[in-house]
């Protein structure tokens, strides 16, 4: 579990204008890493680059294991049931029959999806259920690195609690190294071991904060301070 699972080195990415500038960060084995930053600063782009879905213009990404990603918008196929959505990756990797059924069952129940949830189409399922299906779709491939983009956004309190329980269970059981992008600090900070605070677009790493040993109040205070600092800095500069 020790060692660096994922390392981003001096990454630069531009679409029509620069989005990421000289971003370097790393994810340690077994760690839950938070990434926070202002709206639209480039967090999703950073996560997509980490997952290898987008390539950086400059710099590099080193991954020490398989990556699973859960998108901000779930991105489930609307014409398939949740069960079929969870099974997608297994099918693409040639896993079929009993093995497929077993894995879909195991990982779905791990995130708290029932058989009746799995028989639904996404449009009939609640936001929380859809988010869990997206999580199970990533987990069935047994990744060593899990990337979560705004996992709590758009969920009600009950669904957020239930998702947090599922994540805690997964970490206890598998010690999966995880990156969580979130601007919901109250949800993120109790879970994270460390956070990187990004600047407004183009995103640079403004601060790295080790949260271990701090209580929640202290964590919130530290991260909010850092966010205020970068916002006031970008306001004047």
């Amino acid at each position: 579990m020790a060692g660096v699972m994922l390392e981003v080195s001096s990454v630069y990415k531009s679409f029509s204008e620069p989005v990421l500038v000289d971003v370097s960060l790393h994810l340690n084995g077994g760690e839950v890493l938070g990434i926070v930053g202002p709206n639209g600063c480039g967090k999703t782009t950073l996560l997509r680059i980490m997952a290898g879905l987008e390539s950086p213009d400059k710099g590099s990404v080193r991954r020490e294991g398989k990556v699973g990603i859960v998108f901000q918008e779930d991105r489930l196929l609307p014409w398939k049931t949740l069960w079929e959505n969870v099974a997608l990756g297994l099918k693409y990797h040639g896993i079929r029959g009993e093995e497929l059924t077993k894995r879909v069952r195991d990982y779905s129940s791990m995130v708290g999806l029932t058989d009746s949830d799995l028989s639904l189409h996404p449009r009939k399922a609640s936001g929380g259920t859809r988010r869990k299906a997206a999580l199970a779709r990533a987990l069935v491939l047994e990744p060593e690195i899990l990337l979560l983009d705004e996992p709590f956004t758009g969920l009600d309190v009950k669904a957020r609690t239930s998702l947090r329980e599922a994540l805690n269970w997964i970490w206890d059981e598998y010690g999966l190294s995880t990156v969580i992008v979130s601007h919901q600090l109250e949800e993120l900070l109790p879970l994270a071991d460390r956070v990187y605070v990004l600047t407004p677009k183009p995103a640079r790493v403004a601060e790295e904060i080790d949260l271990r040993g701090m209580d929640l109040e202290r964590r919130l205070e530290r991260v909010k301070e850092a966010l205020l600092r970068i916002l006031s800095r970008s306001g004047t500069g």
């Binding site: 879905l53 991105r75 196929l77 014409w79 693409y92």
Partner: protein
Amino acid sequence: MTRGGKEASRGHEIAFRAGRILASLFVLAIWISASATGMLPGPVEVVAYLLSMEPEEVAPQVLKTLYNSITGFSLSFLASMVLGLLSHRLPLIKGFSEALSEIFNSTSALVWSLVLVATLGVLSPLPPILVVAAVTLPHVLTATVSALSSADPGLLEAVRSVGAKPSDEFFEVILPSSVPLLASASRVGLGTALRISVVAEAFGSSGGVGYMIIRSYNLADASGVLAWSLVLIALVLGLDQLVLKPLERRARRWLE
């Protein structure tokens, strides 16, 4: 919605339906005034003629026209799928398809009919099918190309993130995403196909509603012309309202 809103939308709905009924009455009124000149049989006469026709006389012609249009449309649909799929990858095919659409789009059904009947002969069953295929191709091809590029890039990325190969992307995302647009294109295309098929049938002697219309015309049987025209209208409307429209509506819910 508020109660006022509900009432307003109910009023809206009633007015809308009234407008639809008015349109039918309007067409009927034109027909009646045209028949008042004495040059054209009126509705009563034509309906009486229709009722006097034997089902065994009408059915084979209707089936022939349906067969011509569906076969012709299927040909253009298949060709469009193949070209649309290849256009996705190959710029050569993309240019080819685009120009082919433009050329076909500027060629009239009349020209196709004459050329094909002259080439294949009046007795050949092929011209109506080929004319339908040629005339519907530009619309269907354009629609197919845009349908096949309508997939949500987010969904494509999501399946790629769990290991989808390009063929998985095509069959699992691109094709299913294109269902609603393909259904709309098919609805328009099949309606066009029926109307074009009768034009082509008129130039041959292999049967169909179009053949019956022109035959009645050549026999100076005006009631026959109008009766067979009504058969065609009923066919187009019936197919559209009873089959194609419900199918299109179902297809549209597919992506929700």
